[in-house]
């Protein structure tokens, strides 16, 4: 199995960003009550993660070898600005696409998953293509977790759960169960 494929699948299911690494919890808790919203949120995330991976790679290659202590600050500034610019571009060029995905962009600019991806990519020393596969895998993993969560929450809306558990407590218990299920993917990718 090629390394790139391993990176993609590992980030998507085995070490799922939300369910195993707890990144991107804000949208996971906030925007997971309807399946179609969750799906669009997830796809917007894929897009921003890919942009992030490109920015982080550029910074890591050309800027940060000279000033390693500026890593965190430059990641934040560059990613936030880039997403802002792309948001304006999408708004101008394709209003339809903007209505579908664009409205989520400001929401996710600085969520943990975005910065987390940049930092993990740096710590693991990923190159350009490894980083891109990592970003797509992480984004698809987020989408998967969001959509699964949303479809479960749509059902619990109508079911008779005890009053005290309504709200975040219940969401966390469901997330724990999903996370348990995802642990079953461990070992999937070890060819040993």
């Amino acid at each position: 199995m090629s390394d790139l494929f391993w990176i993609l699948l590992s980030a998507m299911v085995v070490n799922n960003f939300t369910l195993a690494l707890f990144l991107g919890l804000c949208p996971f808790m906030g925007v997971s009550s309807r399946v179609d919203t969750a799906l669009r949120m997830g796809l917007a995330n894929v897009f921003v993660l890919v942009l992030t991976s490109l920015s982080a790679w550029t910074l890591n290659t050309f800027v940060l070898p000279y000033a390693p202590y500026l890593r965190l600050i430059s990641f934040i500034v560059v990613i936030a600005s880039l997403v802002q610019i792309v948001e304006m571009a999408v708004k101008k060029l394709s209003p339809a696409l903007f209505r579908q995905l664009g409205i989520f962009l400001p929401l996710i600019t600085t969520n943990c998953a975005i910065l987390g991806l940049a930092i993990f990519q740096t710590n693991r020393g990923y190159g350009l293509f490894e980083g891109l596969f990592f970003a797509v895998g992480a984004g698809l993993g987020l989408t998967l977790a969001l959509v699964l969560m949303a479809s479960i929450r749509e059902s619990t809306e109508l079911s008779d759960v005890p009053e005290v558990t309504r709200g975040t407590g219940l969401v966390l218990i469901i997330a724990g169960t999903l996370s348990l299920a995802f642990m079953g993917f461990a070992g999937l990718l070890s060819a040993a």
């Binding site: 369910l19 707890f22 202590y69 965190l72 934040i76 987390g116 709200g167 407590g169 218990i173 642990m183």
Partner: protein, 219 residues
């Protein structure tokens, strides 16, 4: 904003408006690094340091920061302190730094810290801002400690690395793995919500006075 006394500023964040357990802020670190007491405390203290430093600077500099760029300036200040905490931890306690990994850098996006700057330090005096930061920071440490203690005791049968039970104890390993984080926090929140409901019912049943007890109830 309502006028508050200094002791209210200090105590509010500790429990009644606990950042994690009541306001649901900073969930990411609260779930990710609370698998042992040691990691929880390290993360709690690092966050406390960043919050205190940022609140101090924001309160000191608030007159010089134009309103239009305040959020950017806060982020810059927070990121600076996080980088300092990151380098400091790596130099002083490398093993803890390795265990926490990327999550130290992720303190930057802990909503709680930015929230305190925007809601408090940007409007109030330096002393009050420090009191508020100490209170919220302590609340954060307490929440992380509760999670870490429960997860380590149940999941490893130890506390701060010291074995508590005999060899016969089969650790409930899943509690120190990711699902355990979700399940522990979920159970904790449901427990708190149940407890508050009980208190509220008792208060309603007894005297007609019911104060701010229901305020903390979960969404």
């Amino acid at each position: 904003m309502k006028a508050t006394t200094p002791s209210q500023d200090l105590l509010r964040g500790v429990w009644r408006e606990n950042p994690v357990l009541v306001q649901m802020l900073g969930l990411c670190p609260a779930l990710a690094v609370t698998n042992t007491v040691e990691n929880s405390l390290a993360m709690g203290i690092a966050t406390f340091f960043v919050l205190l430093g940022s609140s101090l600077l924001v309160a000191l500099l608030k007159r010089f920061i134009p309103n239009e760029i305040r959020i950017s300036a806060y982020i810059l200040i927070i990121a600076t302190f996080v980088t300092i905490a990151d380098m400091g931890l790596e130099a002083l306690v490398p093993d803890v730094h390795k265990a926490l990994g990327a999550f130290i850098a992720l303190i930057v996006v802990n909503c709680m810290i930015l929230g305190r700057q925007e809601a408090f330090a940007s409007k109030r005096s330096v002393v009050r801002s420090l009191l508020d930061a100490i209170g919220s920071g302590t609340g954060f440490v307490i929440a992380l400690f509760l999670m870490g203690a429960f997860r380590e005791i149940v999941g490893m049968g130890s506390f701060l690395g010291i074995p508590l039970f005999g060899d016969g104890y089969e650790p409930w390993v899943v509690m120190i793995l990711p699902p355990g984080g979700f399940l522990t926090l979920g159970t904790l929140l449901i427990g708190l919500s149940w407890f508050q409901r009980r208190r509220k019912e008792a208060a309603d049943g007894g005297t007609a006075k019911n104060g701010a007890v229901q305020e903390g109830s979960v969404a």
